[in-house]
Every structure is written in C-alpha cells, then in structure tokens.
Amino acid sequence: MPLETSRSGHPIAVAIVEDEASVRVGLRRLCESLGLKATVYASGPEFIDSLAVGGDPPDCLLLDAHMPQMTGLEVHQHLVESGVLVPTLIYTADDAPEVEARYRASGVSGYLHKPLAGDLLLAAIQQAMPPA
C-alpha cells in the first residue's frame, strides 16, 4: 500500500493531540491505515513540549477541540503566537454553527466533525497542506 507523501516525497507526518486514550489509539490506527505517519500526544502541552525540545513540526496537526488544560483552539493560538506555522485541523462533536464559525475565524485550516470518516480526513489533510 502506497504511503501518502508530502512534497518532499516523505510520508505525510500527522501529529494527533487527543486527551482520551481510546480515541487517540483509534485515530492513530486510522491515519496509519490511510498511509500517513502518525505521532500521538495526550495533551496540548505535551505536543508543545515536543517542539520545544527540538522535534520537527509535523506536516499536519490534528487537534481535539475538547480537552482539559488546553483546548484545541488554545493549542493552535499558542502555536501561531510562537511563530510555528503548521496546517491545523480541529475536530469536535459539537455541531453548533456558531462553534464552527468561531473555529474558522481563528485561522485553522480545517474543521471536522466526530466521528471522523477516513476519506474526509484525508481530503481535509491534503487540502490543508500547501500545494506542491
């Protein structure tokens, strides 16, 4: 099975930040089955710390909107403020229109509803990433 590749020809690296273990594992498996290279983090601070110790930013960031400590939006804003520019997708169970509007206004690349369908996720990732 071919891996989805980025411009550089490497497999697309996706970072998943999700507080709940079972969802985290499920999403990692889904991404891997889609041919992506998935790294998972249990919280926003954990991901931010991984960048701070010199880790490479992923090609695309997948954020759970609903997390203790830092919400998905807060993680995104933190990254923007610290100059890390990563295509970011936020997913949530909340389908209220005003919530979607808020996320779109914040400058994230995409907004997804839970549960996540594989092809929609892939399409959103590809769309979020800068054109080759």
Binding site: M1, D19, E20, A21, S22, V23, V25, G26, L27, R29, L30, E32, S33, L34, H66, M67, P68, A93, D94, K114, P115, L116, A117, G118
Partner: protein, 710 residues
C-alpha cells in the same frame, strides 16, 4: 375540680343587667321586700325571721355593674327609711340603713371576688364560698352594726340577743331567697333562648303541687299526738330533694324560699308547729329548722349540678367527635360509644365484629372474627390485648375495608384509659381522603423530581453528546482502519485482533453511558438499597466529566477509602450530586479559568454518617439567600427556575439526611450533604475510625481521564 378563680377583674365589670331595667325591677321588689319583712318579727328586738331587702339589694349588686351600684344602694336605703320612719326615730332608721348597706356591700364584694360575676353553685367548693360571703360574713357585719344600733337606742339589754336575731334572719335570707333570686335571674336568658321541653314544664308544675301539698300538711295539719307535730316537719324534704336533683341549685333555692315563706306565713297566722308559743325562742327554732333543711338540700343540688355539667360535657364531647369512639373496660366490654360509632356499627356494610355496641364484648367479637381468618380482626385483637395487659399504652394500625365495592382506608388507634379500673379507648377514623391526598402529593413530588432530573440532563446535553461521541469516534476510527488493514496482504492479524478488542470495549462504554442516561430519564418508583458510596460518586463524576471539561473546571475528589455504603435510591442521589456539581460549575462562570476548581470530599464519622461536601471557588451565595436557597423558586442564577436545590433537599430529607450550604471563609461556597449509612453500627462494635483526609485521601480511580488530585 373547681373552675373558680377568686379575684376581681375591673375590665370585666359588665353586670348582666343594665341600669334601666335593673332599677325597674328593683324598685317594686325592694318595696315589697320591706313590706314582707314585717310579717313575723322577734317581739323583743323587732328583727324579722326573714329579711328580703338583704337578698334583693345583694342580688341587685351581684347582677349589675359596679358603676351602677350607687343607685341600688340609694334606692334601697330610701325604701327602708320610709318603711320604718317615723315609727322609729330618725337616727335609729339611718343607722339601720347603714347596717343594711354595709351587709349587702360586704356580701356582694365577697361574691364578686369569689365568682367574678353572678355566683354559680355547681360544686361544694362554690357553695362554701357563697355561704362564707352571703350567709356568714355579710350577715355578721350587718348584725354587728344592727345590734349596736339597737343597743344605742335602748331596744335591748344585751348585745348578743339582737346580734343573734339580726344574724339569723339575714343568714337564712342569704341561704334561701338570695340564691333563688340570683340564680333564677342569671339563668333566665338561657332559659328563654332554649325551647323548654313540655315534659320539663309538666314536671315543674307537679313539683309545685307536691310542694304546696306537703307544706300544707306540715304547717296546717294539727294532730293530737306528739309525732303529729314532728313528722309533718320533714314532709317537704323529699320534694325539696326532688327539686335539687332535677332543677339544680336555682330550683332548690326557689322551693326552699317557698317553704320558708310558707312556714313564716303559717307561724304569723298562729298555725303550724312553730306557732305553738309565739316567742323569740320559737322564732329561733323556726330559723334553725329552715337553715338545717336548706343546707343539705343546697349541697345536694350543687354536687348534682356539678356532676350533671360533667356528664353533659362528656356526652357533648363524645357526640362532637367525628371519629368513631368506643370505651372499653379492662375486660374489653364496651362501656360507651359515640354517635359516629353507633352509626357506623348500624350500617350493614361493615364486618360483623365491628358491629358492637354498649354491653358487647369487643375482645370476644374480635377473637371470633380472627378465628375465621379476618386479618383486620387478628391485628386488632393483638393490639387490644397488648394495651389491656399493659404491654403498651398505645396501639395504632391502618387497614382497608371494602364497602359497597369502594375501598375505604381506616386508622384504628387504641389508647389505655387513664383510670384505676383500666380500660381502652378505641378510636377509628376514615382516612381514605387523607391517604389519597398523601399519595397525590407523593406522586407530584416524584413527577417534579423527574422533571428536575430531565432538566439537569438537559443542561448536560452538550457534554453528554460528547461523552457518547468519544466511544463512537474510537469505534468508527478503529473499524475503518481494520477495513483498510484487511485489504493489505498479508493482513496484520494481531493488529486486527487488538482493533476488534478495542471496538468491543468502546461499544460497552457507549452502552454504559446510554444505560445511565436511561436510568436518569426514567420515571421510577423509589428503590432504597445499600450501595457503594465511592461507586455512586464516581458515576456522578463520570456523568459530569464532559461538562466539567467544557466549563474548564478542574475537579478534585477526595473520598475516604473505607467509606461505608449508603442506603438510598441510586438515581435520586445521582440527581442530587449532579445538581450540586452543575450549580458549583455555574457559580464559577465569572471566575478566571485557572481558578475554576471544584473539590468533592467524602468521609464518614464514628456513627457511620457520610458527609459529602462539594466546594467551589465562585462568587459565593449572598447572605440574604443562604437560608432561603432551598426554598422553591429561589435562585441566584438569572435563567434558573430555582427548583433544583429544593428538590435535592426533599430527596436528601426523604433519605433521612440533611443538605445545607455555607459560604467559604476565603471564596466560593460549599454544599454539604449528610447521609446516614445503610450499615448500622451495633452497640459494642468498635466505631469506624474517623477518617481524616491527611491520613487516607484517595482519588476516585474510574474517571481516570480527568484531574483527580490537586
């Protein structure tokens, strides 16, 4: 026994006769009385056998207001003055007037003090007070002044002789004519207002005839033998006792007055047993005879009248009771039943053992019904025997009875009769309506509690959708990954196995969430059962978990390790704690996100009471609301309905617990819920160690996905 409370109350100085009709009645009476006093007099000192003006003036004073007394005293003095002047010298008459006034005034004041109004001779004690004032002290004062007057004007050689004759004539008047006047006039209004039975009028007429005949025999019949003189003296006595027993003190004193006047009239005409010699000694004999007849007859009348009042009250009391009442003796024989009982027993619809009346053996009736297998009779019998054998003072039971196809509910209570002979009072009340009301209230309470629960879930709906979406997201991601994995060659079977395992467990988790929601949404009966307190609280925290995250509230739970189980209804207690947690969250809406902390602490005391506190760091509760917070429709929230806390308190109270709020010393408020444990500590057991948080703090483990320790 006596209801007399001696003392004068000027506020109550009303009098039962107003001035105008009083004077209209008094004037002819006092003139007639003065005329009658000349009927039979002591030849030596000029004192009458009976002195009606004393009774008339004293009676007038007793029956009227004090502010009017001066008119009666003046009128009485004038009438007496012109009766005797100019036969007597001016000073003699004036001094006799003074003696008359002093006597009547003394007696009237003493009677006012003793009775606070017109005297009622309904006990021996009351009769004693009356005699002291009107028969002894009043006449003694008059006799002292009168005898001094007689001595001053040379009417007698010794003080004792005029004193005795004055005293005797007024004492006799005070004992016969005075009560006759006062009791008749005071009792007249109630006599008019009531319809008098014809039988009673007939009896009064017969009594009068009998009295006239016996008096005629006693006073007019001249026999030849000595016993012909003595015997007739006592012939009016049976008639007098008849009057005393049937017509009370008023009737007795009227009859006694009639006998006294008859005797005086006969003696004056020179007939009857007292006319034999016509001397002072003979008149004294007449007075002593009348006094000694009057005293026991009035005593009988007073005692009987008091007894009659008590019996009347007793019957009125029984008749006024709406409940069915029966009084049993120590053997279970029915002594008395009230009208309600009788009507109930007479209605054909009731069980036979309940159809007992006066004289029936209630215990035997219950026993025979119990032997036929009547469960109500079996329970009643056990209760009656318990009370009759002094095993308990009181027994209560409720039972259903089918009547005309209707189901009626009765409450039966048995109470030991507080008297030396023992016995039981049986009271039966129809409580069908009361029970229906109670059931309706309970139903409404349940309905309201359910609505409140649904409202709580409504508040949580966003968070609960999230809670359900988590396992669904996991399942869908895993399932899709598995499908793609299957297309690879070779398929990674170990990974597929792990995926399917995760799908199954996430499915269970979703089902669990749905089950809990269903339980909370359901309208159910209350089921009290002992449950693990930790488990209860962790379930609540799981339900609230998503809401806490949404509201950015960091929750900490400190639950004592060996918390005893709590006895209660799981769903209702979950409702209470969910409500408290949501309230705590809402109280922190304006608190900075970093400070939104909620602490749940649960521990038990030595008596196995469980204290659960939920502390927030919000704005606190305004002190004016702190007391009223648990009343319905009192709320601190602009959009709140104010029912959550009042229903929560009702639920906790129904569990035998307490729910209250306190403001914290620094910031925010704490809700306390005290619940009793299902585990009762037996005496002799070592008490459960008081659990201090320092020694055994324990985080609830199941909701591992939220912050549990500070």
């Amino acid at each position: 026994m006596s209801e007399l409370r001696p003392g004068y109350d000027p506020e109550a100085d009303a009098g039962i006769i107003p001035l105008a009709p009083g004077l209209l009645l008094f004037t002819p009476a006092i003139l007639l009385g003065n005329a009658a006093s000349g009927l039979l007099q002591y030849p030596e000192v000029g004192a009458a056998v009976l002195f009606p003006p004393y009774a008339i003036l004293t009676g007038a004073l007793v029956l009227t207001a004090r502010r009017d007394w001066i008119w009666y005293i003046l009128l009485g003095a004038i009438a007496h003055f012109f009766t005797h002047w100019p036969q007597w010298t001016l000073t003699w008459v004036v001094l006799a007037d003074v003696a008359n006034i002093a006597r009547a005034l003394t007696a009237a004041l003493l009677l006012h003090w003793a009775f606070g109004g017109p005297p009622r001779l309904e006990s021996v004690w009351a009769l004693g007070l009356f005699i002291l004032g009107a028969v002894m002290v009043g006449p003694a004062v008059g006799a002292t002044l009168g005898a001094a007057d007689v001595m001053l004007h040379g009417g007698a050689t010794t003080f004792w002789v005029p004193w005795r004759s004055w005293f005797m004539s007024n004492a006799l008047t005070g004992l016969t004519l005075l009560p006759a006047l006062v009791l008749t006039i005071a009792g007249a209004p109630s006599l008019w207002s009531r319809r008098i039975e014809r039988r009673r009028i007939l009896e009064a007429v017969l009594l009068t005839v009998a009295l006239v005949v016996t008096c005629a025999v006693a006073l007019l019949w001249r026999g030849r033998h000595a016993w012909h003189v003595a015997l007739p003296l006592y012939s009016p006595l049976p008639v007098l006792i008849w009057a005393a027993l049937r017509f009370g003190p008023a009737g007795a004193s009227l009859a006694l007055t009639a006998v006294a006047f008859g005797a005086i009239w006969a003696a004056d005409r020179g007939t009857g047993p007292f006319a034999a010699t016509g001397t002072d000694a003979n008149i004294l004999l007449l007075q002593v005879f009348l006094l000694l007849t009057t005293l026991p007859v009035l005593c009988i009348a007073a005692v009987n009248s008091g007894r009659h009042k008590v019996v009347q009250l007793y019957h009125a009391l029984l008749a006024s009771l709406h409940d069915h009442v029966a009084i049993l003796d120590a053997h279970g024989i029915v002594l008395e039943v009230n009208d309600s009982w009788r009507r109930f027993a007479d209605s054909a619809i009731v069980e036979r053992f309940q159809r007992v009346g006066v004289g029936d053996d209630y215990v035997a009736a219950c026993r025979s019904a119990a032997e036929r297998g009547d469960t109500t009779a079996i329970r009643t019998l056990a209760g009656i025997q318990g009370v009759l054998h002094h095993e308990s003072r009181r027994f209560e039971m409720e039972y259903d009875d089918e009547q005309d196809g209707r189901r009626e509910r009765y409450a039966l209570s048995l109470e030991a009769l507080a008297r030396p002979d023992g016995g039981v009072v049986v009271t039966r009340a129809n409580v069908t309506a009361r029970r229906q009301t109670l059931m309706q209230i309970e139903e409404q309470r349940r309905e309201l509690s359910h609505l409140a629960r649904v409202a709580v879930l409504g508040q949580l709906s966003g968070a609960l959708a999230h809670e359900l979406n988590q396992p669904l997201t996991s399942i869908s991601s895993n399932a899709e990954a598995a499908r793609r994995l299957l297309k690879r060659q070779p398929a990674d079977l170990d990974e597929l196995d792990a995926i399917l395992g995760d799908i199954a467990s996430e499915d269970q988790r979703a089902a669990q969430v749905i089950r809990r929601l269903r339980a909370l949404l359901k309208r159910g009966e209350t089921h009290l059962q002992p449950m693990d307190t930790r488990e209860l609280l962790s379930e609540v925290l799981e339900l609230a978990h998503a809401e806490l995250i949404t509201r950015r509230v960091t929750a900490t739970a400190l639950v004592a390790r060996d918390l005893p189980p709590v006895l209660g209804d799981r769903v209702q207690l979950q409702q209470v704690f969910l409500n408290l947690i949501i309230n705590a969250c809402e109280a922190m809406n304006t608190t900075a996100a970093a400070d939104r902390r909620l602490t749940l602490i649960a521990n038990a005391d030595a008596r196995n009471n469980i204290l659960i506190s939920i502390r927030d760091f919000g704005t606190g509760i305004p002190s004016t609301l702190l007391e009223r917070l648990f009343e319905p429709f009192v709320t601190t929230k602009p959009e709140g309905l104010g029912l959550g806390l009042s229903i929560s308190r009702t639920i906790v109270a129904a569990h035998g617990g307490r729910l209250w709020a306190e403001n914290n010393a620094d910031r925010g408020a704490t809700m306390y819920c005290l619940l009793s444990s299902g585990l009762l500590r037996r005496d002799g057991d070592t008490p459960t160690q008081p659990l201090t948080l320092e020694s055994s703090p324990a985080s609830i483990s199941p909701p591992a996905h939220h912050s549990l320790a500070p």
